[in-house]
């Protein structure tokens, strides 16, 4: 461990003395302060601060993503070029220790810069808050500078219900419509509430949530009627077991988009089971409402913001660790410019792959590129889709950890999430390139032919 620490310390020291740390810090701090000055948000103080937090942390991680790739790609390759690595490799240190020390050094640099940027971002947010009218500050703290535990509704087994309906209604002797096309229509129908209709969601609150603690509803919807009638109706909270009414409130003329409502959790039953219901107003007062699938949740409690920022940045740091490992892997094999190019291209392609994933159906003219009215998708279409799907399946688990987005939305990034991130991002997604990189580095001759 001492040797790994020595290499890590050397990496940090070199980054500091070469001016890399200072340059990156200056660039990031300038961007953060500039953003705090120019961001306008959605016109509300809370919205402004929330947008600033999202953009500031997003820009920080974006710049550090590129910086990590470039620094990692040049780490081993440049030391091989100028032969400083030879003098280290002849010491009693394993190649794996050398590689890990470099990785740890890069992680240390990222941790330092993330900490500095987080401090600057929070300081700017605090300044923005102090410049807000005193009457709006409470709303900002409630809505933005807080962390709440997201509680998802019980799984509704949409697919099972859809399968039952499909067997009963749609599938005829000739199987006219595939189930894969029926399922999204069924789900959309389930989430559409006509005038006079009711939609329920069942929740089971976590044990640590107590009656009387803050509880918010967050959902989103779109118009499902030609008239584009806004939301008018009532929301109710019922006890899950007895269905007794715990809270109710009417809403009127809410435009499509995100809806946030404060609920009263005073009557929370001991088993923590709740039923949330939306009743659409009847008749001509209202139009049909379509809730966005899987976008309705309760936000429970009100916890300090700073620890949530810390946990979110831990997850962001783990993501940067993947990039450091990929960069070092390339650096162990290729020269500095080639390693930089390959690792950057890899990262850009994997980040962009989700935009190339789309479903095709032979009769969907809008999506299939056709040639001479050929109803079948061409082989290059099928091949490129297969590749895009495969790449997306690799990237999706990493993208699923959107801790920065969660944190800036005021949602808690819990320690279980951090634990899952460690197992997924560190053990699997960093571990595999690390193993490959160390293996390739061990096989590599560190001295070339020279006269």
């Amino acid at each position: 461990m001492k040797r790994i620490a020595a290499i890590a310390r050397l990496t940090l020291r070199e980054a500091a003395r070469a001016g890399t740390t200072a340059s990156l810090a200056l660039l990031l701090l300038t961007a953060i302060v500039w953003m705090a000055a120019v961001i306008e948000g959605d016109g509300t103080p809370a919205g402004r601060i929330q947008v600033f937090l999202r953009y500031a942390f997003g820009l920080t991680t974006g710049i550090l993503t590129l910086a990590t790739l470039w620094l990692a790609a040049g780490r081993i390759a440049s030391e091989l070029d100028d032969r400083t690595l030879q003098l280290v490799a002849v010491k009693p240190i394993r190649r794996s220790e050398l590689w890990l020390g470099k990785w740890l050094g890069l992680m240390g640099l990222n941790a330092l810069l993330l900490a500095v940027c987080a401090a600057a971002t929070l300081a700017c947010a605090e300044i923005m808050l102090r410049r807000t009218a005193p009457g709006d500050r409470a709303e900002v703290r409630e809505r933005t500078l807080v962390s709440r535990l997201p509680v998802q509704p019980d799984a509704e087994s949409i697919e099972v219900q859809a399968r039952a309906a499909y067997e009963r209604l749609v599938k005829g002797p000739d199987g006219a419509e595939p189930f894969e096309d029926f399922l999204p229509r069924f789900e959309a129908a389930r989430n559409t509430v006509p005038p006079g209709g009711v939609r329920h969601w069942a929740f089971r609150m976590p044990a640590r949530f107590r009656a009387g603690q803050p509880l918010w509803l967050q959902t989103s919807f779109t118009y499902a009627s030609v008239e584009r009638a806004p939301m008018t109706g009532s929301w109710s909270l019922l006890s899950g077991g007895t269905t007794s009414l715990l809270w109710s409130a009417s809403v009127s003329n809410l435009p499509a988009g995100i809806v946030r409502l404060a609920l009263d959790s005073a009557g929370l039953p001991p088993d923590g089971r709740l039923i949330l219901a939306f009743s659409n107003a009847p008749g001509a007062e209202a139009g049909a409402i379509a809730f966005t699938p899987r976008n309705t949740e309760l936000l429970a409690g009100a916890h300090p913001f700073a620890p949530n920022v810390f946990r979110a940045l831990l997850v962001a740091l783990l993501k940067l660790g993947i990039l450091a490992a990929v960069g070092l892997l390339c650096s162990a094999v290729f020269s500095t410019p080639v390693a930089t190019f390959i690792s950057t291209s890899l990262a850009v392609m994997l980040a962009a792959v989700q935009y190339f994933v789309f479903t095709t159906a032979p009769e969907q003219d809008a999506f299939a590129h056709k040639h001479n009215d050929d109803p079948e998708a061409a082989w290059y279409d099928r091949a490129s889709e297969a590749v895009a799907h495969a790449a997306s399946s690799i990237v999706a688990p990493v993208d699923a950890f959107d801790a920065i987005g969660q944190m800036t939305d005021g949602r808690q990034v819990g320690w279980p999430t951090v634990g899952r991130a460690v197992m997924t991002l560190l053990v699997l997604y960093t571990g595999v390139p690390a193993l490959v990189g160390i293996l390739l580095f061990r096989r590599r001759e560190l001295a070339g032919f020279s006269t």
């Binding site: 620490a5 020595a6 070199e14 032969r83 400083t84 009693p92 001759e445 560190l446 032919f449």
Partner: protein, 347 residues
Amino acid sequence: MIAPSQDTRRLNVVSTHAPLDRNGSAPCACRDQGETTEMPANPATGWAVEVDGLGKIFTDFWHRPKVRALDNVTFRVPAGGSVFGLLGPNGSGKSTTIKILLGLLRPTSGSARVLAAPPDDVLAKQRIGYLPEESYLYRYLTPRETLSFYGRLFSLPPDECRRRTDELLDMVGLTHAADRSVGEFSKGMARRVGLAQALVNNPSLLILDEPTSGLDPIACRQVKDLIAALARSGKTILMSSHLLADVEDVCTELVILHNGRARAAGLTRKLLTQSDRTRLTFPSLPADTLKRLLAAFRAEAGADPQVDHPSLNLEQFFLEVVEAASRSDTSPTGATLGGKPAPFLVS
């Protein structure tokens, strides 16, 4: 080696059993291209380095042979107090051999063992020190930080590491520049830092690749004295050089490489001694006395002796001049080696 002499009246007389050629030289019977003299078998202290049939071929991208750097090289370096020279012109395979011994390259054929372990054995490297041909140091670190870093790689305790750092910086004459970045150093100063880092772990085996490269004559002398002192304290030194005078001065044994092959090997004294000739050195004599002596010599030995005055080599003369100047000049400039090995190296 002839000691420097102030007496210009000394004469050398060389006689030989074999007829002299027109240059006054006799053919040496102990060197023959391609012939290797025998090394002592299994020294009591064991072998520090064992190289058997070592071959190295550098290939191109298609794994086709590009350069045959080594071809069936065999030699042994006894452990404990020997200074072994790896000699050869540029491109003969000296650096390649060293890099294979250090695990930086893999041999194509044959084998090498260092301190009874394979070259890439991490534990064996604990007892090896290496000075490369060029000082490949981290330019943003100071000498103190450099030695401290390498000391940590050897798992030296912090106090011990600090002590050794101070002693080594004093030994190489860089105490005054201990906190300047290595990137600002001249080649010679960087070389001194390189020498210091090679010794920080008090190695049993010291591998020096062109140790006097880039050093002034005084520093060269001091490095050679240091090598001798380290050998006397029981360390094994393997040094590679194409500067013959340096190797002749310090190496007890050597191997000569050319075009990747070992051409000669053995004890230095044995390889260089012309056993078929004898030299007498005595103070200058009056002309008629000399004439009588020579006549008697001719009568006894039946050979015409060669008579001339001995001369210093340039290095000796240079050192004498500089030493005399140093005694009169009290304000030295530039870096100089301390002259004495660090105490921890010879204790």
